[in-house]
Amino acid sequence: MRLEKIKLSGFKSFVDPTTVHLTSNLIGIVGPNGCGKSNIIDAVRWVMGESSAKHLRGGHMADVIFNGSATRQPVSHASVELFFDNNEGVLGGAYAQYSTISVKRQLNREGQSVYFLNNLRCRRRDITDIFLGTGLGARSYAIIEQGTISRMVESKPEELREHIEEAA
């Protein structure tokens, strides 16, 4: 189940519709400080259902919507869509027969999120269900955010236990 591309529009500094194409198993994302690299990681966690603004460096969920720059006005919506190659049928359930699976989330300034699975509207729960058992998710061990790598080994015994239980 490879991630093929990430589409962002109005999400943090990615105001214009932007596609990140992922064409191999070993991808390096580079660029100067502040150009938007970690924002891509935030986008992936957000569309997988991250519901805490703090965990996306914001105060309110609407903080992920592009809020303007010296040359641009703020916009009213943020949208992120992930496209998975499901040719090996890893993602199960009702979507096992699709060769490509897309998950999308949109947000407006009122703080209302709408989720889509292959462009059909669904609940957040349907998105998180899709990833159950894959080890993926907004808070998965599979996504290590900037500055947090040492935290793993310094976590309390009960927290480390939880991580192991999740991986089981």
Partner: protein, 158 residues
Amino acid sequence: TQVCFKATFDAINLGLQSKFEKLFEGGQAYLELTEGDVLEAGVNIVAQPPGKKTRSIHLLSGGEKALTAVALVFSFFDLNPAPFCMLDEVDAPLDDTNVERFSKLVEEMSENVQLMFISHNKVTMEIAKQLTGVTMMESGVSRMVAVDIDEAIDLAES
């Protein structure tokens, strides 16, 4: 369930030991259960870089902690491989030797897991099969740009 947890625990433990030894070229690391009932015990990680006799993981250096954490996270993947992994600047505290060892292990892991990493480090960038750059030519507006290794190095420096 007790059997399931113990099996998971043992598998991750084996993975941790082997990856730690690879990253540190020696030494040892393992998980241990805290006192009490297996169904409720917490999990502690013990890590000893080669030649050292550490009592507590907290005393390790910034680079040693990062490397130990990488060994632990990657051993989760051996057990139950999530299809992809995203690493945001985990090589920041590493010296050049450890960046080399880290990037070798990342290359190995990418045989079974789709790995995306963000890095400012040229040695890490060099192992990528695909490099993608992020720029802000217009201030405050991010755009993607395809780059090769030389352009990636320039981009990271701009």
